[in-house]
Symmetry: C2
Subunit: 313 residues, 2 copies
């Protein structure tokens, strides 16, 4: 086992940060270090949080984290922010609250930007979850911004997924229709100090009634006011109950298997695409083919045939 790996397992923050960076940059040492830590994963409760922009997810995460810390648990937080030229990296304005939290040595926070098509966000996220898990964190929270397909895919890395809605925006139903119903384990109506809460709760509960009629667990609908610290204890309790449900119904193992499968898929995808499009041996050939496609001398399907014919057995 290499040095970085053994330090990560002790929970050393600098080594954790270093390994995450190695993984994000697809460094050669990353793979061997990830191999070393894998046997030490599988203990953390992975919680995914998604929902509309402006739903107060950051504040909610801070409050959930503070509650876990009160209970003596350590927490890792992965905040997935779209990259922007205006924020100078992957920090959005309302993450200022997180800075204070980051000073607690029982909390590790990492912001990750979204990436382009070839690299893919999801590959690195799986790895960072593994790293925080192996480092001994009791809970790993993964937050995504927005509700798009990539966000829905990322959340599959979680054991328990929270979907955060806000009353009065009229988009509770729209958000749920955005494919989110399939992934939600707990619904949260945040900013419950605003008007329209009862209506939002009623809307969501009626959808839940229809969706869960054939299931053995009814998705709970909770209200919180994160900025006022309300509803947090009940929420953390509900999260715990979900883990117990997963363990009892063996769904926990099923979910873990899905997560490892998802990770394997992503590692393969990333390697294959890098192999074809980044390694110089093929890169020139690919450029040539794209030229021919552009001049209509060839079509993309035939070009794909050529490339695959060269690389596959």
């Amino acid at each position: 086992m290499n040095d970085v790996a053994s330090k990560v397992l002790t929970g050393d923050p600098r080594s954790i940060a270093r390994l995450i960076t190695l993984v994000e940059n697809s460094s050669p040492e990353a793979a061997s270090t990830m191999k070393d830590i894998h046997p030490h994963t599988g203990n953390a409760h992975v919680i995914g949080i998604t929902g509309v922009m402006g739903g107060g997810k950051s504040t909610l995460i801070c409050e959930i984290t503070r509650e876990y810390r009160k209970q003596g648990k350590t927490v890792g937080i992965i905040a997935i922010d779209p990259t922007s030229p205006f924020s100078g990296g992957a920090l959005l304005g309302d993450r200022v609250r997180m800075v204070k939290l980051a000073m607690d040595e029982g909390v590790f926070i990492r912001s990750m930007g979204t990436r382009g098509m070839l690299g893919g966000l999801t590959s690195a996220v799986y790895d960072v979850v593994e790293i925080l898990d192996a480092s001994g964190k009791d809970v790993v929270i993964v937050e995504t911004v927005g509700v798009g397909q990539a966000e829905v895919d990322v959340i599959k890395v979680a054991d328990t997924t929270l979907v955060v809605l806000v009353p009065g925006l009229g988009d509770s139903i729209q958000t749920i229709k955005a494919g989110v119903m399939e992934i939600a384990d707990i619904y949260i109506i945040n900013k419950a100090d605003r008007p329209g809460v009862d209506q939002a709760v009623a809307e969501v509960e009626s959808l839940v009634d229809i969706e869960c009629s054939n299931r053995d667990r009814k998705i709970p609908v909770l209200t919180t006011s994160a900025k006022n610290g309300k509803g947090i204890v009940a929420l953390v309790d509900e999260i715990k109950k979900h883990k117990e449900y997963l363990k009892k119904s063996k769904e926990f193992d099923v979910q873990r298997r899905k997560r490892y499968e998802g990770e394997l898929v992503e590692i393969i995808r990333k390697r294959l695409m890098n192999f074809i499009f980044d390694e110089s041996k093929f890169k020139d050939k690919v450029e040539l083919l794209i030229d021919q496609i552009f001049k209509k001398e060839m079509d993309p399907y035939t070009a794909a045939d050529e490339i695959l014919g060269k690389i596959l057995k």
Copy 2:
């Protein structure tokens, strides 16, 4: 050239619909038909429209389409809706307006649901753009719902990308920070009949000033009230001006090349992933490896090595 291909080239709606379905299902005949039509692509002006949910994009698209029809142009519309168990397919409520439009034979509309990780949305979208282009449509409009990474990627298929914002939600800046600034060619503040328009315009224009200070084209910021039919003529005119700018600056060819490159990447990705994870020869091996990963007898990176070793030359 096969029968479906030649009929698609005449603009026959049933053949267009048939080929789209073949492509969505990755049918064997799809690839050869796509090869036949490729030489006939490259003429349509592809317009991407993205922005926050609830921004009135559907209504805007209807109005833009009506204006193009007045100018004697034919239009293809691809509406990418997240799949939902509650809407029975890929239709959202506010698409009712589109039904009337669909009765115009100069307009072809297709809704496409989002797909899971392996299939990938973007592959089929590139193909459908090609199909509508080859069928003779002057304009192809691609609409995505929400602002996530997948949506940002999809929009790369477009020549001209419109980003739609709404005044007063306070999220103009957030949306722009969501990586959207890099893809916008025209900003639209829709629902301009609402309060807060001037402020929204000012916010966006100041961001544009900063971002475009080193560029040779300043991104225009327009206001529209789609439901009242206001600002549409000016918008369509601005879209036309952008195409002229692309052609003059040779950016048009660069953009087309990027589109074909994106299509090639997606076809290869889809084929490789299907090859590994769907074809029965490997599927069993993969299941076995996932079991071993789960039992910690193996890690995902080593498993990836094994699979890639078996399939690559």
